[in-house]
């Protein structure tokens, strides 16, 4: 069945979260756990449809975050909470560790400073390695490696199931998700009246977690925007699972002022990721891939790990990061208007999301609203999609394997439509099940998926019946 907006709520919400990206989902969970009646207002047909759908899937330590920054504090807090709750939510963690690799003398000269900053940031598990020592831990690295820093705590996670779990917990506690609901205007008269493209609602407080539209949403809430989003595009290439054996660890470059640079990294799904590029652009909606950039990423990957040359491409994608004119997170609390803006959350958003949510709750406590009674976290376990744990196809009576490349079962696909936060579009179905995400990209399963999802997605896969 086509997802319908949650039933209208007659009363006033305690909190409206604008944006169902990873930060919005984490905020909804944190406030729902604190006992608040939460509504999440999402412009897209599904959650994670903006910046959050495309990232490197790394759970960062914060070793390279600006010392003393809010970003560092929230990355560390978010990571700690992820590690604390992941078992109870069934979320994966693949303990890869990372190597910051210096490929020439100039880069090697920067390693001492990076290690010192990492230690100053409270990350003790850092080791300076010679090129040979680093290659001993990962033999696939190119021989010209000069030196590296091992950061044992950098790990990989499933970047889509984690935020889905946050929101699923919130929904289990009574939160509402409104989809296809764009915030048009907010007026504060002691409480908020929020006009969306699908109706009007009242809330005591708002959190702007609108990602690429953070500045636009601040303006629609009637604020003089304190920052301007300058989208930074990142293109990625995903290699076939045959690449995974060559890449037991995350390979980070020595970062520049502008970007963390191109990462070569295993994924929790058993692939290898190369990216992102860092391209400034005006457009907030188009995240195109470009042949030349993708070829350059492939070449870069093969320079770093020569065995990657010739391994076929499984997928390509691109995302926009909500960068602003400054590197720092743009966190603004306006107590007089009971509004919090979580803006400019770039690459570290996946790691910092739970930290940002906790921070927002603390800021909210300063608004002088009556306290709510904390709720008990509902137990739930999201379906595992990663290769490091048992998958559904390994259990009997799964119906059939629908997607052969990613071994997605009919039972998994049906279950996701019956879940508290069912997919709203095909991208959402792919992120929840991995159907169609594999090496054939739907050659075998796309038609079957079109049939199975008939009437259940906002934009159907098929445009209609065939004619004779």
């Amino acid at each position: 069945m086509l997802h319908t907006p949650s039933p209208p709520f007659a009363g006033q919400y305690d909190l409206a979260v604008i944006g169902a990206g990873v930060v919005g989902c984490a905020v909804a969970r944190r406030f729902a756990l604190a006992g608040a009646k939460v509504v999440v207002i999402e412009k897209g047909a599904d959650i994670l449809s903006g910046a959050s759908k495309a990232n490197s899937a790394i759970l960062h330590t914060g070793f390279d975050a600006p010392p003393g920054s809010l970003e560092l504090e929230l990355v560390k807090a978010g990571r700690a909470e992820y590690l604390a709750i992941r078992e109870s939510l069934g979320l994966p963690l693949v303990e890869t560790g990372a190597l910051v690799c210096a490929w020439n003398a100039a880069e090697a000269d920067k390693l001492d400073a990076i290690a010192a900053q990492g230690r100053a940031n409270g990350i003790e598990e850092l080791r300076l390695l010679s090129g040979a020592e680093a290659r001993a831990t990962m033999p696939g690295l190119a021989e010209r490696l000069v030196a590296a820093i091992e950061v044992a705590g950098e790990h990989i996670i499933d970047p889509w199931t984690a935020p889905l779990a946050y929101l699923t917990q919130a929904v289990a506690l009574g939160a509402h998700l409104l989809r296809d609901a764009e915030l048009i205007e907010g007026r504060f008269d002691g409480d908020w009246t929020l006009t969306t493209s699908t109706g009007t609602l009242r809330a005591a407080a708002v959190v702007n977690a609108a990602g690429l539209y953070g500045d636009v949403v601040d303006a629609r809430l009637g604020f003089e925007p304190d920052f301007e989003i300058r989208p930074r595009k990142g293109q990625f290439v995903v290699l076939d699972k045959a690449a995974f054996a060559h890449l037991p660890r995350i390979v980070l470059p020595v970062p520049t002022e502008i970007t963390k640079g191109v990462v070569v990294c295993p994924t929790a799904f058993g692939n290898v990721l190369i990216g992102p590029t860092a391209e400034e652009q005006e457009d907030r909606t188009r995240a195109t891939v470009e042949t030349g950039a993708l070829e350059a990423l492939l070449a870069r990957g093969a320079e770093i790990v020569p065995a990657l040359a010739g391994i076929p491409v499984t997928a390509v994608y691109a995302g926009l990061r909500p960068a602003t004119e400054s590197k720092a997170y743009r966190v603004i609390a306006r107590a007089d208007r009971r509004a919090i803006t979580l803006g400019g959350i770039r690459s570290t958003g996946l790691s910092a999301a739970l930290g940002l949510a906790g921070h927002a709750l603390r800021l909210h406590e300063g608004f002088g609203l009556p306290a709510t009674a904390p709720a008990t976290p509902p137990t739930l376990c999201l379906p595992n999609l990663t290769e490091t744990r048992e998958r559904d196809w390994q259990r009997p009576d799964h119906g059939e394997i629908v997607c052969h490349c990613e071994l997605v079962t009919r039972r998994e696909i049906e279950a996701t439509f019956d879940s508290p936060v069912p997919p709203g579009d095909f991208g959402g179905l792919r992120r929840r099940t991995r159907a169609g995400m594999g090496r054939c990209q739907g050659f075998y399963c796309n038609a079957r998926l079109a049939e199975m999802t008939k009437g259940r997605l906002k934009e159907p896969l098929a445009v209609g019946e065939r004619e004779e």
Partner: protein, 413 residues
Amino acid sequence: MNAPFESTSADVIVVGGGPAGVAAAMELRRRGIARVLLLDREPELGGATRHCAHSPFGMREFSRVYLGAAYGRRLAAEATRAGVELRTGYSVVRLESGGRLEVASPAGVGTLSARRILIATGARETPRSARLIPGDRPLGIVTTGTLQSYVAFHGLMPFRRPLIVGSELVSQSALFTCLTHGARPVAMIEPGPHALARAPFAWFPRLMGVPFHVGADITDIRGAARVEEVTIRLADGSPRTLACDGVLLTGRFTPESALFRQSTLGVDPGSAGPAIDQDGRSQDPLVFAGGNLLRAVETGGWAFREGRAVGRALAEDLARGSEANAPTPVDFETPIKLVVPSLLRAGANAAPAFPDFQLRMARAASGRLSLEIDGREVWARAGTWWPERRILVPIPPGATRAGSVRFRFREGQ
């Protein structure tokens, strides 16, 4: 985790129920191999022929013409009559050494083992991602196989006004599928300088009133939910933007060789399929391969005959005992794209499964193609060769005992 078939073992397990796999399984039975198990992950046999509603199948092997789905049913009936044990809905997830397969079925997972394994998993088209096509990534960008599955299995259409990319034989079939099921392609483009299909097939788009551009590439795809327009660059460099609701990527077949790629055997860089010797035997002498997995792509009839030949060689191998001599690799020079078989093994069957080397060129090339065995030229021919067209060179007697085998190409001679 339960293992519903942990103790199952067979003489031969054939993986893949398309024409090659079925032909091999039937030939094995015909030659007296007792227990031949045929696995397919789909619910029906037939492989890619299942959704090909238009190509004529079965002319040579069954002396009559079938549409794809009926051909699959004929294969299943013939295989059953031959005494092949059929298991559909079985996915092989890992190829292990020692003749073992890790298998998933609706009943659970387990290990199957056999004295020999024959992999015939066929080929598929290269998707948009691996072609590194630029632009947005909305709905409506599919391959011929996907379109034909929409039409044949589900009565659906993924688009009404697609742009078709490619000009192989399958591209003409894709165009026909569109025209007969209510889709009107806006144009057909071929990145290369010529149509890849031979005349008269290459004339088909223009006969049907569909503009056909050679030397044209996609430079951008726009669309939020679905494809809305595609910009192409024509051969003269000029851009053209076409309003359309889909992109149909045809051809550029690639072997479905994940089982080899993810095993220690790997794949041949030229063909992207497993390296095999003149009997279809891989680097692991217990594992054989045949059909379009070897070198995408030939017709169903070709795959059937090749599967039958590998089945015969495998039966002889079982009778004689495993052939474990170290193989000699077949080398080749650019612009040769692939050579199958790419290994030769001494002491194998008197009549090999592959009487000829199959070659293809990476691009159109004129020049002199030659074969050297132990440094001595034993075959040569000058001419013009087109990409994706088969070149056959007889495997000379005695070549299997050679220390070096090399194809050379001298351009312009």
